[in-house]
């Protein structure tokens, strides 16, 4: 008589399974281990394999039908062989308890059915299973190339070839987490395990370190991106001949030092000159405020100062009214407080125009981003000796680049150019400041 194919019992609590679909038709030749149909339990879907080879003689249930465990669902045998009755629909009578006696006779040890077995049974062909068992390959690790990701013999062969070398648990974990193709991994010695270093070598991007995007870093970041997106930026570039500004600085250096104990730097000369130029160009000293443009009467110049992990802009108030000694004192104090994280919010508010001076670095020029809600910012590069032509003769001059970024919603090109031209002239003829 033909062999019965039973609804498997896949777990202690499994009482019935639902047939999802048949993979074979009646009359098909099937091999032991070959999947015949797919079933579904309350937990998973899985394939039921032929328990013997032969012809699939009879399917006892159709798709979607629910069948108790250990009840025949099909018959496999030789062509023409007889088989048992039609499906027994009396489900209650056939609940699993009644079938346990036979199992317990076989051994003294009570058998506890495995409950987690089902998870480690991916779809695979019998040949694939045989090879996998022979080589102790965990099929959950193998990628199937067949329909519904079914694992074929070829897949297992390939897996074995690629994984001939064993891996340490840590290496395996790193490889899994990073989707590293373990087949290509090489280890230093031929028969050693693949270790952490072997996997790390394969990781596409080199290791990086993460820091949180928060605090001052985030504030700077958000303000920059807001300004860049809301204000149409235009940047004008020019260069100023700093010969005379250098003279002025050398002249005043000692005087200011004896008065304040501090060294006058170009920053203060630039602040003073800018403040002077702003007086003549109030539109550059303005803020867009909803439906109106506020034109400021005070000239409060912010100075961009680098601090660990970010950037702050303390403000020198009424810069146009202050002399170079006072500016030196104030700007040095603000910068020091900024670096020591001692600025209060008053120190950083009320600015009407900002200067960002990168002259101490090897930077010739750059395009600064406006410090909102102001409408312009001046970027200052280093003073660099350059060959310039002057009335047909060639001279070497200390040149400094000035880059003015302005908000085109508030200021147009010509007035901005006018301001920058004036500023250049003041820096080239700083004695004008005294006029």
């Amino acid at each position: 008589m033909a062999e019965e194919l039973l609804m498997p019992k896949l777990g202690a609590t499994m009482e019935k399974g639902t047939i999802i679909g048949w993979l074979k038709n009646e009359g098909d030749q099937v091999e032991t281990g070959e999947p015949i149909l797919e079933i579904m339990t309350d937990k998973i879907n899985m394939e039921v394999e032929a328990t013997s080879s032969g012809i699939l003689l009879k399917k006892l249930y159709d798709q979607e039908e629910e069948v108790p465990v250990l009840v025949p669902i099909a018959y496999i045998g030789h062509a023409g062989e007889t088989y048992g009755s039609q499906p027994n629909k009396d489900i209650e009578k056939l609940l699993p308890e009644t079938k346990n006696g036979q199992e317990q006779e076989a051994s003294d040890e009570p058998k506890i059915p495995q409950t987690s077995l089902v998870h480690s049974k991916p779809r695979r062909t019998p040949a694939a299973l045989r090879l996998a068992n022979k080589h102790e390959v965990d099929l959950t690790m193998v990628k199937g190339s067949g329909p519904n990701n079914r694992i074929h013999l070829m897949d297992v062969e390939q897996f074995i070839n690629q994984n001939a070398k064993k891996m340490t648990p840590l290496a395996k974990k790193i490889a899994e987490d990073n989707d590293v193709d373990t087949g290509n991994l090489q280890t230093a010695s031929a028969n050693a395990k693949i270790g952490k270093v072997d996997v790390l070598r394969e990781l596409p991007t080199k290791r990086s370190r993460s820091v949180n995007y928060n605090g001052i870093r985030k504030v700077v970041g958000e303000r920059m991106s807001k300004s860049a997106s809301v204000a149409p930026h235009v940047t004008l570039h020019t260069e100023a001949d700093m010969t005379k500004a250098i003279e002025v600085r050398n002249l005043l250096l000692e005087k200011i030092k004896s008065k304040t104990g501090l060294r006058l730097s170009f920053t203060e000369i630039i602040v003073k000159s800018t403040a002077y130029a702003l007086k003549a160009h109030p539109m550059v000293n303005a803020s867009l405020n909803g439906n109106q443009i506020d034109i400021h009467t005070d000239i409060n110049i912010g100075l961009a100062v680098a601090v660990p992990n970010g950037l702050v802009v303390p403000v020198i108030r009424n810069a146009d009214e202050k002399g170079l000694a006072a500016l030196t004192e104030e700007s040095k104090k603000l910068a020091k407080n900024a670096r020591e994280n001692k600025l209060n919010s008053d120190d950083m508010s009320g600015g009407t125009f900002t200067i960002s001076n990168l002259g101490m670095y090897a930077v010739d020029s750059f395009t600064p981003i406006i410090n909102q809600p102001e409408s312009a910012i001046l970027g200052v590069g280093r003073i660099k000796e350059q060959v310039v032509s002057n009335n047909g003769s060639i001279e070497v001059r200390p040149q400094m680049s000035l880059s003015l970024s302005f908000d085109h919603r508030v200021i147009d090109g010509a007035p901005a150019a006018h301001f920058l031209t004036d500023l250049k002239e003041i820096l080239e003829n700083p004695y004008e400041l005294m006029v």
């Binding site: 340490t168 648990p169 840590l170 290496a171 974990k173 987490d177 395990k193 270790g195 952490k196």
Partner: protein, 463 residues
């Protein structure tokens, strides 16, 4: 003139292991030792100190047993007998090293070597001298206690770890300068023998290279045993008077005080023995000989291992380096790997650690999380009445990689190798947790720490 393929200078755990390995791997090997085989470790370090510690352990145990209902009559201590047992242990082991070298067919020269030129070595023997040549030379001359230049030191008799084992009788009081591993171990030995001990340490805590919580625990225990611990203290002057030694020092608070003691032990680090290579122009790494991962010095056929190259300055590290040097000297490539070096401090309770300390791990910027298991929660520790201490698991959250383990408590020096094994084989916290630990044991605490570590990770992931 006799020629050897490999000549090893120094018969300590770096040298004799290198000599034995080289004899197995290539041909003729000689070893030159100017004092005793076994080096510092066997003769004036690990072995004698552990022998004496055993005595202290028993005394401590007897003290404890009184609370359990086991009473003894009065206990008498014979320091002389203790020292003689120590000498027997040391001699037995020394003979063991000698026979090991004999079996390996290593020629042992008992004399003081000096490397004359790149391949030529002169040996000053007891009677006369001999010159031999070598294809390869392994320098394993070790180190000696560092004697700091303190005012008045030349007028005071002092001990170092080299001489303290030769004490004829037990002093009543002892000042130890240096609160590192050596200082702390001697404090444990002598305080258990009822010697009044004072430790003077410059740093702000004892054993500053190891885990802070471990050091705190030891400090508390020593203080409980009436050891006077002075940290952030500077010794300023030493003098001798009719009552013994006088140590003048400046304390943490800037006060100047004097401490009187019968004996003085200097335990403030070790300095390399370099006279053997004084005629060579070897590159240095600070005061030590510079080497690469193959233990090669700046002269390619000359190797150096052990304390003379600095680093961990541990016997088992010297042996590991000795093996690497022997392989390379015999033209077989091998590199040293310092990733898994266990460190043991035989204080009471013991400290053992492997891998990174918590501080090192965090400085490396890894996503580190630690988990502590306290022995007060261990049934075995309670049964033993030894529930002081903890196991600290230091692991990386990304892949559950075990970065290090620090343990304080009974028998932890024997337990640390489980962690070493896991780290070497690149097991993760998951494997550590999966190991079935026997119950009731102290070692099951390692599994508990792993389980708690993983549990918190899951809780974290869910929230």
């Amino acid at each position: 003139m006799k020629n050897y393929e490999v000549v090893v200078i120094g018969g300590g755990p770096g040298g004799y292991v290198a000599a034995e390995e080289a004899a197995k791997l290539c041909g003729s090997v000689a070893l030159i030792e100017n004092k005793y085989l076994g080096g510092t470790c066997l003769n004036s370090g690990c072995i004698p100190s552990k022998t004496l510690l055993r005595h202290s352990e028993v005394i401590e145990l007897m003290e404890k047993a009184k609370n359990w209902g086991i009473e003894f009559g009065s206990v008498s201590i014979s320091f002389e007998k203790m020292i003689s047992r120590k000498t027997t242990v040391v001699e037995n082991l020394r003979n063991g090293v000698a026979s090991l070298l004999r079996n390996a067919r290593v020629d042992v020269y008992n004399g003081t070597a000096i490397v004359e030129s790149n391949h030529q070595i002169n040996i000053e023997l007891k009677y006369g001298s001999e010159t031999i040549t070598a294809d390869k030379i392994i320098i394993a001359t070790g180190s000696k206690p560092f004697v700091p230049s303190i005012n008045g030191i030349e007028n005071v008799g002092y001990h170092t770890s080299d001489s303290i084992f030769e004490l004829a009788s037990l002093p009543q009081s002892l000042v130890i300068v240096g609160g590192g591993i050596i200082g702390v171990e001697f404090a444990c030995i002598f305080s258990a023998l009822n010697v009044e001990v004072t430790i003077i340490e410059m740093a702000d805590r004892l054993i500053s290279a190891e885990d802070g919580e471990a050091a705190d625990l030891i400090s508390k225990k020593l203080a409980k045993d009436k050891v006077n611990i002075l940290t952030s203290a500077k010794v300023q002057e030493l003098s001798q008077n009719e009552n013994g030694k006088m140590v003048r020092l400046e304390t943490k608070n800037g006060e100047h005080i004097s401490i009187q003691a019968d004996e003085l032990l200097l335990a403030s680090g070790r300095t390399p023995n370099l006279s053997v290579i004084s005629k060579l122009n070897l590159k240095k790494n600070g005061p030590f000989i510079a080497v690469n991962k193959q233990m090669e010095t700046s002269i390619p056929h000359i190797y150096a291992v052990g304390d003379v190259i600095g680093g961990w300055q541990l016997a088992h590290v010297a042996s590991a380096e000795g093996i690497v040097a022997a392989w390379n000297a015999c033209n077989l490539f091998k590199e040293i790997n310092y990733k898994v070096v266990p460190r043991c401090i035989y204080s009471s309770p013991e400290i053992a650690s492997v891998g990174l300390t918590e501080k090192e791990a965090k400085e490396k910027g890894k996503s580190v999380r630690t988990e502590m298991f306290h022995f007060r929660a261990s049934g075995k520790a309670m049964a033993m009445d030894e529930s002081t201490g903890f196991i600290k698991l230091i692991a990386d959250e990304t892949y559950n990689e075990i970065l290090g383990v620090t343990m304080v408590g009974p028998h932890v020096t024997e337990m640390i190798s489980e962690a070493s094994t896991l780290i070497l084989l690149e097991g993760t916290v998951n494997e550590l947790e999966a190991i079935i630990h026997p119950h009731p044991t102290l070692s099951e605490g390692i599994g508990e720490a792993a389980r708690a570590w993983l549990h918190k990770k899951k809780v974290h992931a869910m929230s």
